[in-house]
């Protein structure tokens, strides 16, 4: 009923890797907005909870020819054959037809982690620990986003709370569609370099749609045919060649030598 009244959108983002300086403001803003708790005492890089993780990847060459690129990786919001959706036994993962965003319903999640195994982008995180904030810091939590319990999988949902708020605002103003300026995910808002462009990829007037069609735009693991809605762009050929590489493994190997 609702979708019949509102325009269907296909939200996505384009991340300019030549502008990203790896400051981490996007990852921080994401955690603050979505009530992602601080690291548990025993959390490690493998058991951490980071809806948006910035990977540093080098070109592998020796100093001083060595160059690095920072790649923010969150849920890529696959549009076709969404692997996490098809494996979830609980219907806890679904694609919202109104936004194209892959949604995660923690309350339904059993914690089987099939979706994590299926995700080719390693963009899903299992909540290994009880969510805890230092005493008193609960007062800083965002009331628009519920807290998830240990034992469920979490991931980026393009700040669903902000989309709902934008929808409520549009409804209050008697508008059918939301104002694009009212729905901007926290990471986009926080980026000091304006490296992330967000918008409706189906709207040719949106900056995101235009940027996604630029010459040097690419998507990670496009060959899998999952139609991710997160695009990247770089003028550097070696960066574009990373599109089909496992960037997480690559950097870990470099660290190990």
């Amino acid at each position: 009923m609702e979708s019949a009244e509102t325009t269907l959108a296909r939200y996505g983002m384009v991340i300019d890797l030549d502008r990203c300086n790896g400051c981490g403001a996007c990852a921080t803003a994401c955690a603050v907005e979505n009530n992602v708790p601080p690291a548990n005492t025993s959390a490690t890089e493998r058991t951490g909870l980071t809806w948006l993780r910035v990977q540093r990847v080098s070109n592998g060459r020796q100093f001083p020819q060595n160059r690095a690129v920072y790649i923010p990786i969150s849920c890529q919001q696959c549009g076709e054959h969404t692997p996490c959706v098809s494996v979830c036994p609980q219907n806890a993962v679904d694609v919202n037809p109104e936004t194209g965003v892959v949604s995660q319903v923690p309350a339904r999640c059993l914690g089987c982690r099939y979706c994590m195994a299926a995700c080719p982008f390693h963009a899903r995180y299992f909540n290994w620990f009880d969510p805890k904030w230092p005493d008193g810091m609960e007062a800083t939590l965002n009331p628009d986003v519920s807290i998830r319990m240990r034992g469920v999988v979490e991931k980026c949902n393009f700040c669903h709370g902000r989309w709902q708020a934008a929808k409520a605002k549009a409804a209050a103003n008697g508008a059918r569609d939301i104002d694009p300026a009212d729905y901007v995910p926290a990471c986009v808002d926080a980026c000091p370099e304006k490296a992330i462009t967000f918008g409706n990829l189906d709207d040719p007037r949106s900056d995101a749609a235009r940027a996604s069609k630029s010459a040097n735009a690419f998507r990670f693991l496009e060959k899998l045919g999952t139609d991710p809605k997160v695009y990247y762009r770089s003028d550097r050929a070696w960066v574009r060649r990373l599109a089909d590489a496992d960037v997480t493994a690559r950097e870990s190997e470099a660290s190990r030598g």
Partner: protein
Amino acid sequence: MRFEVTRRDVMRFAGGAAIGAALSPMPWTLTDDLAIWTQNWRWIPRPSKGERSTATTACALCAAACPLEANCVGKSPIALRAAGGAQPLCSLGLTGHHLPWHPARITRPQRIERGAARPASVSIEAVVRETARAMAAARSGSGSVVVLDSRPDRSGSWAWQRLLASIEGAVVVATPGTEGSSLDALDALSSDATRLTTLDLAGARTILSFGAPVAEGWGRLSECCPGDVTLVQVEPMRSRSAELSDHWLPARPGTEGVLALGIANTLISASLVPSSVTESIADFAAYTDIVARFPLARVAAITGLAADDIALTARELAANGPTVVVAGEQPGGGPLRRSDRVAILGLNALLGSAGRIVDRAELLSPRAGEPLAPVARLESLPGRSVALLVIDASAGDVAFPWHVVDRKLASSALVVALSPYLAGTARHADFVVPTAPFLEAIHEIPSSRTEAAPALSISAPLLPAREGAIDPVAFVRMLASAGQIDLGGDWSSTESLARERVARIHAAAIGSVAQPSESASLPVASLASADELWDALAKGGRWTGDRAAANPERRVELAAGLGVDLTREVGAAQASDRTLKLVPRAARETTLTAVVSPVLSKLYRESQLRRSPGSATLSPRTAAALGLRNVRAARILTAGGSAHVSLSLDEGVMAGVVELTVAPDLIALGDAARADHRMAIDLLTPAADGSWSSIDAELVEG
């Protein structure tokens, strides 16, 4: 017909029921219910509910004083963002509203006994008594009193200067590594030592940065130099600024000054210095003689750079002016050596464009005509001379090796820190006085040394101060009272002094206020009262005063300040084949405060974006040359001690260099229980001039 229930019927019924139930939605509903039930334990935090509102103020976490808008529920901020289209906040600013609840927060004065496992709470009266006793001893000649100020030019800074005015030899010094402190080398270039100087950064088209974190917000350069600016970054490591620069010159650590003289050599020998510029340099002939000793081939051999690259850089600087040359404080590494800074900053005079040395207009003090203790440089203090050290970290903290200060302390010196947290520099104190953190009290953010015009922002509190927090200015009053020192006036708090300062600015009707919500600045003369000016500042506005008038008589002396034979220092033989250059590395925001939000553990512990504290990185080639087989764990040995570090290899690190990560430790990240009280930065032994940007170290397995 007789209806008879057999055992077989019962079994069939039970089996059928089980199969039917399994095929019905019931198990799934039960599983769902179970999943929902297990997510609603009573200990799961619940976000607060209440009326939503927004409030604006200024971020007090660094000198940039970004205007920010806080989304509040009830009266509590739940999110911070840049106000009025200003530059987005950094990670530190985005999480600033977490800091009042940081686990390292203290609300009672603490005594840290040497060797004791835990600090003990004491009364504020006991702290005042002990501090006043040490002050009285210093007045009778047992040593000097020094206040280490993490943010000079605040009203609180003025209060300390006012208190110390009555104590012979007492001084206020800026905390080592404070933003803009590298520019104190400009004093050596100015023929008029009585005037404050800075660099004119406005309108630059090219920036030559020696280690300054330009792309990370250092020195408000982004505001001074809008549009396309060519950035040339000189740094031995591939920092974020180096990553985003147009040209990166990876000079060997410690050779920055030589590179500057090499560039000067090219500029002079290629006649790229206009005659009008040479006339403004008092000792141009002597400077030319020194520079002549640094031909390109020699500079290239010392710095490890290609001679062509150096020559090309020099020509680009001259051709693509106006050019600014800055020697900033490397995050975690503090300023470069003083002689290097003099050589680097001297290039500004030689290029004669935007980066010219200008007078820095002083910010009006809260009260006029009162006696004040002088401001000094830490390295100018004699060793083991300080009997009482007060660390005022109430407005922020800077990561620096404790050796820098420790060698100035007398054996029985008393160290008192003012800080909201039992973390950072305060952990070296005997007593820690709790102050109110950002968002709980008035904080002033005056202009930093990098700004030519005076400026002031006020960070107004959005939360009520927690019981027990002591106002630094009130603490000064308590000390004066205990020491029977008459300070005059009726000021008793930071707010009262700050309001006096704002009233003076209003009365002088100078400058204007930029407000986050308005596109045009508001002239102070147009404001009816000082209260109006105060309100504009408290809502995130920034007052900027007038620049000092041009000083046509100013001449600079480029040769005199060099003083040290750079060549001899650079050419000093290494202690052994295993000696490496240890270079501290940090993200800018992590060296500004004693603590960071525990949420930043996302960057430090739960991802590979930032290296964790206690880690070091070196190139695989260096590891192979040292014969390191187990590259996971190693021990770093320096003149300052030794420490175990977790080691990683990275092709992006210069050969012969080991990068030591200076990052928030576990206490700073909110995990006090597992904290290692030895900070990695304390491994760095400072040079005689107080710099610690690179030192010799050895690396051994184990």
